[in-house]
């Protein structure tokens, strides 16, 4: 459950699209996969076909202020990363798919057609991080008001602060 070892699958290769069924000993270790943006949808479908029944989680990370993260060879780090957690109940195995998404074009293919349950989670990632999921039937904000500007979870989006009013300090009047 805890240790994360990069899987052999690398970006763009055919091996990445056809994931192997994990061995018994690996069951309690999350597998990692780093597909390229173009092969991401294919890879998710392939995982679905080998028995990952449930899409547990979809979220996005903005690596603006932490560019030097460890990635396997062959993966070019980009500003955004879409992280998808798939769960196989039959194999009792989780796999975490991390897709690099460039700042200039923050969009990936939607996986709603593979896992309908990704609907709300992709909308959340769009709302809070500004990742556009191409092919999503209803790409609207979900948590923020419709007329909100900006995407709050991005690192260049400031945190609002309320000045703390102490008892002894003079009031606003």
């Amino acid at each position: 459950m805890t240790e994360t070892t990069p899987n052999a699958s690398t970006a763009g290769t055919t091996a990445a699209i056809h994931p192997e069924v994990p061995r018994l000993a690996d069951r309690l270790v999350d597998q990692l996969a780093f597909p390229h943006r173009d092969t991401y949808h294919q890879m998710v479908s392939a995982f679905r076909d080998v028995g990952f029944e449930l899409c547990a989680d979809v979220c996005a990370v903005d690596y603006l202020t932490h560019p030097g993260r460890t990635l396997p060879a062959g993966v070019t780090p980009e500003r955004f990363e879409v992280v998808v957690n798939l769960l196989s109940m039959s194999m009792r195995q989780r796999v975490r798919i991390r897709v690099q998404v460039p700042e200039s074009d923050p969009s990936v293919d939607s996986i709603v057609d593979v896992y309908p349950g990704a609907d709300a989670m992709e909308r959340e990632a769009f709302d809070l991080m500004g990742i556009v999921f191409a092919g999503h039937p209803d790409m609207t904000r979900i948590l923020m008001p419709e007329d909100w500007e900006g995407h709050p979870l991005r690192k260049d989006y400031g945190v609002g602060r309320v000045p703390v009013q102490f008892k002894e300090a003079p009031g606003p009047r």
Partner: protein, 465 residues
């Protein structure tokens, strides 16, 4: 032109300005409260893909093709249906959940939950707080099972740190988590009873939950939002005589669950209103990423405590409760029996509770005991460091999931090597389970909608975060 005509003219002019004023006010009100494209639109202006999503999302045929949305309710046109709004302030939506329903008479055709009214940006806040402060933040997400939220955050942090907990800390966590599951399910029994018109059940549920909360108050100092389970262990040891308190709770609640049986389970009106209402199949539940009691009610024996054990759940003897039809009644019975299973587990934990330390004695992670601070300069420094700067967590990312009363509660944590999480994402079970609502409500009666919403058990604090 008589004087009379003039006055009439003036009155009409006055009426015009009044109407214009009223219309402007209405427009302003709509602009203020409208959620734009997030709302449920008439069929004419909804794309085929979105329509598919709204009529239940999982209309996938086995071979992977889609049902033609034109086939659905083909005889109903826009002018035969009505879109109504329910909430966000509605006594039975369990918080500020807003639903837009398309009705044909009394039958619900499409539903769209509109959420975000309680959104306070807790994931963003989590990036501003140190790991020591983090549990204070996450505990406020799902306010009915705060200890599970603390637990998942602490487990994720410890996974990154590589800290091994002393056995007593692990078992105290399990004890508190199971008691919390009881209190959460009891609260659900109460509100579900209220939604179905059984106000006695509401009072009973709250009464039993209060017993558990009193024990929490005794142990953690607070009834809710405890900040008790922290990275490195728990905040304090169990109070003296905790075995007796726990045994009283177990005995009383177990006896009372049989009273609930008499009050609800066998009652014809209750059965009528819950059986075959809001059905969902196992395939649909899995496709919609639904977990927890809703998934188990369809017959899928998936409980992370059993199937992917965390803490020491593999040392406990308990059953995974499953239903068979996936209707309201199955969800009710799964939860009722999970209370009994939790009681079973709590009794085993109380018996097997190991002695020892309740937190890891690593000064870089947990503060030193209060008494040491007066004697040791080093202890004082450690104490100061932990509470001002926090501890540094090695670079990495981890996803940890536990079984909360509502389903799979996950925490995705990214660390950049500082004392604050670089990204903290909580996979909230209520948020995901809410996606099943359109499917559960579709084709049912408006009067059952309230019962179905209740059976999904959404906690809006967790949905919106």
């Amino acid at each position: 032109m008589s004087e009379h005509d003039d006055r009439e003219q003036a009155e009409i002019g006055l009426e015009d300005t009044e109407r214009a004023h009223r219309e402007a006010e209405e427009r302003a009100l709509v602009a203020e409260t409208s959620e734009g494209a997030q709302e449920l639109m008439p069929r004419g202006t909804t794309s085929a893909g979105e329509l598919r999503q709204e009529v239940g999302a999982v209309l996938r045929l086995p071979e992977g093709g889609y049902v033609d949305p034109g086939d659905i309710d083909i005889d109903r046109r826009d002018d035969q249906t009505m879109i109504i709004n329910m909430g966000p302030q509605h006594p039975s939506t369990h918080g500020v959940l807003r639903l837009m329903l398309e009705l044909d008479g009394e039958t619900v055709l499409r539903t769209k939950p509109i959420i975000g009214y309680l959104h306070t940006g807790m994931e963003k806040t989590g990036e501003e707080l140190t790991y020591v402060q983090g549990a204070t933040n996450t505990t406020r997400m799902d306010y009915l099972s705060p200890l599970h939220n603390e637990l998942v955050f602490s487990l994720a942090t410890e996974a990154l740190l590589g800290v091994e907990l002393p056995p007593r800390a692990v078992w105290i966590r399990m004890l508190m988590a199971e008691l919390n599951r009881m209190s959460s399910h009891l609260m659900w029994m109460a509100t579900n009873g209220m939604d179905l018109g059984s106000t006695s059940m509401m009072i009973y549920g709250f009464r039993e939950r209060e017993m558990v909360l009193s024990f929490f108050e005794k142990t953690t100092g607070l009834r809710m939002n405890h900040n008790y389970i922290r990275p490195g262990g728990v905040a304090a040891d169990l109070p003296d005589g905790w075995q007796d308190d726990v045994e009283v709770i177990c005995e009383t609640v177990l006896a009372r669950t049989y009273e609930y049986d008499e009050l609800l389970t066998g009652q014809p009106i209750f059965r009528e209103r819950t059986e075959a209402v809001g059905n969902i199949s196992a395939e649909e539940a899995l496709a919609l990423s639904v977990t927890g009691p809703i998934l188990r009610s369809t017959g899928v024996p998936w409980d992370l405590r059993r199937t992917m054990p965390y803490l020491d759940y593999n040392k406990l003897d308990f059953d995974v409760i499953v239903g068979s039809y996936g209707d309201n009644f199955d969800r009710y019975s799964v939860r009722l029996n999970e209370i009994r299973e939790s009681i079973r587990m709590v009794r085993q934990i109380a018996e097997m509770m190991p002695p020892g330390d309740y937190r890891v004695q690593d000064r870089k992670v947990t503060p030193p005991p209060r008494a040491r601070i007066d004697e040791s300069m080093e202890a004082l420094i450690h104490h100061f460091k932990v509470f001002t700067e926090g501890f540094r967590v090695p670079e990495g990312e981890v996803y940890v999931a536990i079984e909360s009363p509502r389903g799979e509660l996950g925490c995705y944590l990214v660390s950049d090597g500082t004392s604050k999480p670089y990204r903290m994402h909580i996979r909230a079970p209520s948020f995901v389970n809410l996606q099943a609502l359109p499917l559960l409500l579709r084709g049912g009666l408006m009067a059952d909608a309230v019962a179905v919403i209740s059976s999904v058990d959404p906690v809006m604090g967790e949905v919106d975060r």
